[in-house]
């Protein structure tokens, strides 16, 4: 079966097996190990690059069962293939919402753990792993190991953010957040340039959610002009989960649609949404958290060759700011930025060995796959790595091994855990092979 990530680059022919329980999964691992093959877990395939790609993948499609939900404290136990969308549909009507959610609700819990995903509330609530009570991991040897912050903590710290390389997460228990409405109160602030938006981030550091849309094509004094959106769960209102759906993008959209001019037009549109004075609105959780989910299969907009997403983080402070300036200038000069550029201030890093977030600024944008882009991104890696920052693995399809190693200082500690739980390296993705991980 032809398989890729959300960016549809790279694509490869993969054998997909979808175990219906721990027993079947263990038997499949045993068979693969005996024949010297590699495998990697795969959830909803919302990672952009080759993190969930291998000649053989273990799909968690059938591990889609809820196991327990305690309505009194919001603790929910699920199999790893359950999606945040399914959790929300079940728990929102009872007043509970995921404590951390990425920009799409169509991710599996296993995928959210493996990438230790973050949301617009990272600066106050940290990443996904912080809200896990425990998880159960199927290791290469076929054992099922329970781990959590205080139980097999080393394995837990390697698994949260470990990109599936420690084993297959089978189940996890999550702590949800209580909410009293399905609406978000949000305020949009307009920022003329990068310094102003960074200022606004610190000013609003007490807000639960904050994120900015940034115009990557703006240059000179307007470099980094953006819209900052801060939000809170509304204090009261309906609790229904909104139905999913929305129009789908047909398979063969001409890639001309993504030409430089339409990208500029898109940015201008977003920019014009903010007025000079802060604008207050109340909107549903779906348009707020998951604006892109409204257009199903929007990844097809980039055409046949697919696209790359580049997400970086640089540390807070003067060096980081300077690096961010240089990154934005390099992108603006290249004229290859996407209409989707998101800027956010992260809170402190956690102890997970390969987790992406660190205290600093993160920027994410898309690039259509074309030969010149790879060299551009290599240059960005130099700037980011040089500033002590890093690139997000679940978005990556092209990072080089040496650059990755420099960006992830706890690489060796991670490899030590892996050597213990998977000495034969049964679990490997196209990405881990490329990164020599």
């Amino acid at each position: 079966m032809r398989l890729g990530g959300w960016g549809r680059y790279p694509l490869l022919d993969a054998e997909v097996e979808a175990p219906r329980g721990a027993q079947e999964a263990a038997a499949q691992l045993h068979r693969l190990a005996a024949s010297g093959r590699n495998t990697i877990a795969r959830g909803m395939g919302r990672s952009y690059g080759d993190s969930a790609l291998q000649d053989h993948v273990l799909s968690t499609r059938h591990l889609d069962h809820f196991l327990d939900f305690d309505r009194s404290n919001g603790h929910i136990t699920v199999q790893a293939g359950v999606t945040l969308a399914e959790i929300i549909a079940l728990t929102l009507p009872q007043g509970w919402f995921p404590a951390v959610t990425p920009g799409t609700q169509y991710v599996s819990v296993g995928g959210a753990i493996a990438a230790d995903v973050h949301g617009k509330n990272h600066h106050v609530d940290g990443s996904f792993g912080r809200h896990l009570l425990w998880l159960r991991l199927l290791t290469a040897g076929g054992d099922i190991v329970r781990c959590g912050p205080e139980e097999n903590a080393g394995l837990f710290a390697a698994t949260c953010g470990g990109m599936g390389l420690t084993g297959v997460v089978l189940e996890a228990c999550l702590r949800l957040r209580p909410v009293r409405s399905n609406q978000i109160e949000h305020v949009t602030h307009r920022a003329r340039n990068l310094d102003q938006v960074l200022e606004l981030f610190s000013e609003h550091s007490a807000a639960t959610y904050s994120v900015a849309w940034i115009d990557c094509l703006a240059r000179g004094p307007r470099l980094g002009r953006s819209l900052l959106m801060v939000g809170e769960h509304a204090a009261e209102g309906a609790l229904t989960a909104e139905p999913s759906g929305g129009p789908a993008v047909p398979d063969l959209v001409p890639s001309a649609l993504l030409s430089r001019w339409s990208i500029g037009a898109m940015n201008a549109l977003y920019y014009s949404r903010g007025s000079a004075r802060p604008r207050k609105e109340r909107i549903g959780y779906r348009p707020y958290f998951y604006p892109l989910d409204a257009l199903r299969d929007w990844n097809r907009l980039y055409g046949r060759n697919g696209f790359l997403q580049y997400q970086l983080v640089v540390p807070v402070g003067a060096d980081g700011r300077d690096a961010l300036h240089r990154v934005l200038r390099t992108i603006a000069d290249s004229g290859r930025g996407s209409f989707l550029a998101v800027l956010k201030q992260f809170g402190p890093a956690n102890g997970n060995l390969l987790s992406f977030p660190m205290e600093g600024y993160t920027l994410a944008l898309d690039f259509k796959v074309e030969p010149a882009v790879f060299e551009l991104l290599d240059r960005l890696d130099d700037i980011v790595g040089g500033a002590g920052g890093r690139v997000y693995l679940c978005k990556d399809a092209r990072l080089k091994a040496a650059a990755a190693r420099r960006m992830y200082p706890r690489w060796d500690a991670f490899q030590a855990v892996r050597a213990r739980v998977d000495p034969q390296r049964l679990f490997a993705s196209r990405q881990s092979a490329r990164l020599e991980l």
Binding site: R20, G21, H65, F66, L67, L90
Partner: protein, 245 residues
């Protein structure tokens, strides 16, 4: 709140049906042969809203255990409003051609075990004077085809059996529903290449639940299979035997 028995509950189609019943708060009893998966499924259905979800575990080719299994379900549920029989296997036609013991096994799983269960359930429901029995057959039972006539034979037997049973139970107020799915993307059909005619288990489950609610007699699902099978049945035999279907 209805009391519903689901046989072959770990089937992808049956599970999708069970989830829809759970969301409505029904009381469920599951029968299958994989205890671990039944347990997981029961937990899931309770979280999804089922008033209760219990299970019994047996290989359905053990006909001798059917009476007891049905009694256990009745006791656990405290009565019975409806039953769905969903188990089945899609055996290897070529292997069945070469070895009758394999063909027999297919006929047992897909026809005889179902007929045994129907016999027990029919007597229970008739005695109670109401209820509904739903069975999953297949479009494959509509006409014997060279590529899978053993499976087709079993499904045709179930069709004829339910047809007669429906007539017998009509005066007792017991409904008999035969569901005839087309291509459904489930573990049973994992090895096939999928195309536009394929439906998801959830879509098929939606039509099964609606058909059970309105106490239909026979449905094709998705609906367009009624047209497709109409054409296939209309092909004259001299031509049909030359086709590779």
């Amino acid at each position: 709140m209805k009391k519903i028995l689901i046989v072959g509950a770990t089937s992808a189609i049956a599970e999708a049906v069970a989830r829809r019943f759970a969301a409505r708060g029904e009381r469920l009893y599951l029968i299958g042969r994989d205890a671990a998966r039944l347990e997981t499924m029961a937990a899931d259905l309770k979280v999804r809203g089922a008033a209760d979800a219990r299970h019994g575990c047996l290989d359905l080719n053990e006909y001798g255990l059917h009476a007891m299994a049905v009694q256990q379900a009745l006791t656990a549920l405290g009565g019975l409003d409806a039953a769905l029989i969903a188990h089945g296997t899609l055996g290897d036609q070529k292997a069945c051609e070469a070895d009758f013991t394999l063909a027999l096994r297919e006929l047992e799983t897909n026809a005889l075990s179902t007929i045994s269960l129907l016999t027990h359930l029919a007597n229970e429901f008739e005695h109670r004077g109401g209820g509904l029995i739903a069975v999953i057959g297949s479009v494959a039972g509509d006409r014997g085809r060279g590529s899978n006539y053993v499976y087709g034979t079993a499904k045709a037997a179930v069709e004829t059996f339910t047809e007669g049973l429906r007539c017998r139970l009509f005066k007792s107020g017991v409904g008999v529903l035969l569901v005839k799915p087309g291509f459904v993307d489930t573990p049973m059909t994992q090895r096939f290449k999928k195309g536009p005619l394929w439906a998801s288990p959830d879509r098929v489950a939606g039509s099964i639940v609606r058909a059970m609610d309105r106490r239909a007699d026979v449905i094709y699902t998705p609906w367009f299979w009624r047209l497709i099978m109409g054409i296939i049945k209309a092909i004259p035999r001299p031509l049909f035997k030359r086709l590779k279907l």
